[in-house]
């Protein structure tokens, strides 16, 4: 087998996972751009979206379950912002970050209570879970449509930010909180819209992400959440195209590392398993540290200077 044929399946799944991370990463980067807050609870919202889908799909047909899941996830994101972050608007940034960690802890424990810690099987969604063949590699349809859907959604979002009134308000708030307020922008509604958009994308992302995985446990959201955040930092936090590019890079590297043993063995470069797949999560953080050391503001980030 040629190199291309061995690498292709990993590359495909990497692009797909990258697209799913991108949908979560956009939520992180938008919130960080406006509130300067690492929303640690975002990954857990993503997990809750997955769990809701499990319960709704068991109770009602899919065409009702999917919109309901998305609507409730958005409501959850909105509520979290209003209850846990809004009262701390004037507090030091560290307090807000701790509050986010608290929300994440609460959501995980709540999920643990409701599911009893059992692995919940994600419902099979007919069309997108079908097996198809691309360039000779067998995969599910969701793997192929994810990147396209992601890019389409992100284009819509960029349009929203650059060409609508609310988008302009968002840009103003992220540039300068206080001045924007003085200009008559309603800060709280702008922040709420940001959370609504972020959680909407996370809900769509969870639909795509969990379709490819056997099940959900309460901690399922933590790792994808962290990786998506890393993707946002990698691309330059606050920049939406940056988050998307970062997410694809991270998704692909993770997937390649997972298959590196197989790839190297079929190429005859190594004789036995080196067990690179142990590092599939760690590679994300290696990339993060490399970029932070050499270009602390990320690939597309703006340079900021400290004023005394």
């Amino acid at each position: 087998m040629g190199l291309w044929n061995t690498v292709l399946p990993y590359l495909l799944s990497g692009i797909s996972v990258g697209g799913q991370y991108a949908l979560i990463a956009v939520g992180y980067t938008m919130v960080y751009g406006i509130l300067r807050l690492i929303n640690f609870a975002h990954g857990d919202v993503f997990m809750v979206a997955g769990l809701m889908m499990v319960y709704f799909a068991a109770a009602m047909p899919l065409y009702a379950a999917i919109p309901l899941m998305i609507a409730l996830t958005v409501l959850l994101g909105f509520t979290i912002e209003r209850v846990a972050y809004k009262p701390l608007r004037t507090a030091p940034r560290m307090s807000v970050m701790i509050s986010a960690i608290g929300v994440s802890y609460l959501l995980q424990n709540l999920a643990l209570y409701i599911t009893g810690g059992l692995n919940k099987n994600y419902p099979e969604i007919p069309w997108i879970s079908d097996k198809i063949t691309v360039f000779g590699a067998t995969t599910t349809r969701v793997t192929v449509i994810t990147p396209f859907l992601t890019v389409a959604l992100v284009f819509a979002l960029v349009f929203l930010i650059n060409h609508t009134k609310i988008g302009m308000a968002m840009r103003a708030v992220s540039k300068d909180f206080e001045t924007a307020e003085l200009m008559g922008i309603r800060i709280n509604s702008v922040i709420s819209v940001t959370f609504v958009i972020g959680t909407f994308l996370a809900a769509v992302g969870s639909l795509l992400f969990f379709s490819n995985y056997p099940g959900i446990v309460p901690t399922s959201g933590a790792m994808p959440g962290l990786k998506a955040f890393v993707a946002a930092v990698f691309g330059g936090i606050g920049s939406i195209p940056g988050a998307v590019v970062g997410a694809f890079i991270i998704g692909i590297s993770e997937s390649i590392i997972k298959g590196l043993d197989t790839i190297l063995i079929t190429q005859g470069l190594i004789a036995e398993q080196v067990d690179f797949s142990t590092f599939s999560d760690a590679v994300t953080f290696v990339l993060l540290i490399v970029i932070l050391v050499f270009k602390p503001t990320g690939l597309f980030g703006e340079k900021t200077t400290d004023k005394v």
């Binding site: 307090s95 970050m97 540290i289």
Partner: protein, 386 residues
């Protein structure tokens, strides 16, 4: 002059209080039997002292130096593994490393115990604990070189990332001969076996040892915080630029604080291995760091006694007081459908959220216990005079 005398007296009172506490723990250790219900108290003391030390060491970094690091679980993992690897007795080593050919075949307690008897065994355990801290500090130094230049959130996420990388490395099959891969380490020197033989009588030390280790380390951290280094750390926290202008070497002090904090995190990891009698990389996830951070917040960021109280409350509540919420009956109310597995943690996280949102300063704020007590009595006197 009078001030200095008053200070000495205060220090003596604190020292006496700590000694009384240690003596009390030693007595409790003898009187409470593992079968009795009150044994929960000892479990809480054991685990509580592990987490108290972890919380205080995190507070040194987050609360006193203003470096928001989230890598604690990783350094505790290093400590736990180092301790475990160097205290597994040689006859147990092959059963523990059943899938690998163990590379490290030294057991400090055994080697020193063979040469010096019972005292040597204790010395071996102590040496392994110190080594655990030292290895964690070494890793902290290497990690600190690139990441300590980063600011607030970036530092948090980079240290969190390093903890994850460390966890992956320790589970790597190629390092199996040292770390036993993803399998757990066991059969090493653990608390439940610590005993002191005085002629005929045997004194159990299973709770005393972890409490003693935590107390000594926390005392060292208190001394550090009150030294000139501690003042420099706090100056860095309050204003980096001003601190640098006053002649404080930022890089050096940040590194010192980071390595010290990680040293004690390593020691607390070693103590944790001692208490739980197993060490497994998978237990040291970022969730553990979050829990320690929540303890620090609960007690008050910037207060050492606050962190200790926070950790003890956190452990008592989650391990002991709220246990009924999981098993059907709580405060006399029986409702098995609501009070089932996991409800305890839900209630607990709601309490934490309330503290985070409405009592932002935590229990102690940035005050220490003696100060807080004194203020209270003073206020009492004033109101009494009126």
């Amino acid at each position: 002059m009078i001030d200095r005398k008053a200070q000495t007296r205060k220090n003596l009172i604190s020292l006496a209080a700590v000694l009384v506490f240690l003596a009390l723990v030693l007595v409790l250790d003898q009187t409470i039997k593992p079968t009795s219900k009150a044994y929960m108290l000892l479990t809480v003391l054991q685990k509580g002292s592990v987490y108290a030390l972890a919380a205080v060491s995190m507070n040194l970094l987050n609360g006193f130096t203003g470096l928001f690091s989230l890598g604690h679980a990783g350094f505790m993992l290093i400590g736990a593994y180092t301790y475990a690897i160097f205290t597994i007795p040689s006859d147990a080593r092959d059963t523990v490393y059943q899938y690998f050919d163990a590379a490290v075949r030294v057991s400090f307690p055994e080697t020193l115990g063979g040469a010096l008897g019972g005292f040597g065994t204790a010395l071996g355990v102590l040496l392994a604990v110190l080594l655990a801290g030292a290895v964690a500090a070494l890793f902290a130094y290497l990690i600190g070189l690139p990441v300590l230049r980063l600011k607030s959130d970036y530092l948090a996420i980079a240290t969190l990332g390093f903890a994850e990388i460390i966890r992956a490395i320790f589970q790597w099959k190629k390092l199996g001969p040292i770390t036993n891969g993803s399998n757990l380490l066991k059969n090493f020197a653990r608390c439940s076996t610590f005993k002191l033989k005085l002629g005929e009588t045997t004194v159990s030390l299973s709770t005393f040892v972890p409490v003693l280790i935590a107390t000594l380390c926390i005392a060292l951290i208190v001394l550090l915080v009150n030294s000139t280094y501690g003042r420099a750390f706090q100056a860095i926290r309050d204003d980096e630029v001003a601190a640098e202008a006053m002649g404080i070497n930022l890089a050096r002090h940040k590194m010192l604080s980071f390595c010290t904090s990680c040293f004690f995190a390593g020691v607390s990891g070693a103590t944790m291995a001692m208490v739980l009698s197993i060490a497994q990389a998978n237990n040291f996830k970022s969730a553990m760091t979050y829990e320690i951070l929540l303890m620090v917040v609960l007690g008050g960021i910037g207060s050492i006694s606050g962190s200790v109280i926070g950790a003890l409350l956190f452990i008592s509540a989650s391990e002991w007081w709220l246990r009924g919420l999981d098993s059907g009956t709580f405060l006399g109310i029986t409702a098995p459908t609501v009070f089932r597995n996991g409800f305890r943690l839900v209630v607990f996280s709601v309490i934490i959220m309330v503290v985070v949102l409405f009592f932002r300063k935590g229990i102690m704020g940035d005050r220490e216990l003696p100060e807080a007590l004194r203020k209270k009595t003073k206020r009492g006197e004033v109101s009494g005079n009126e």
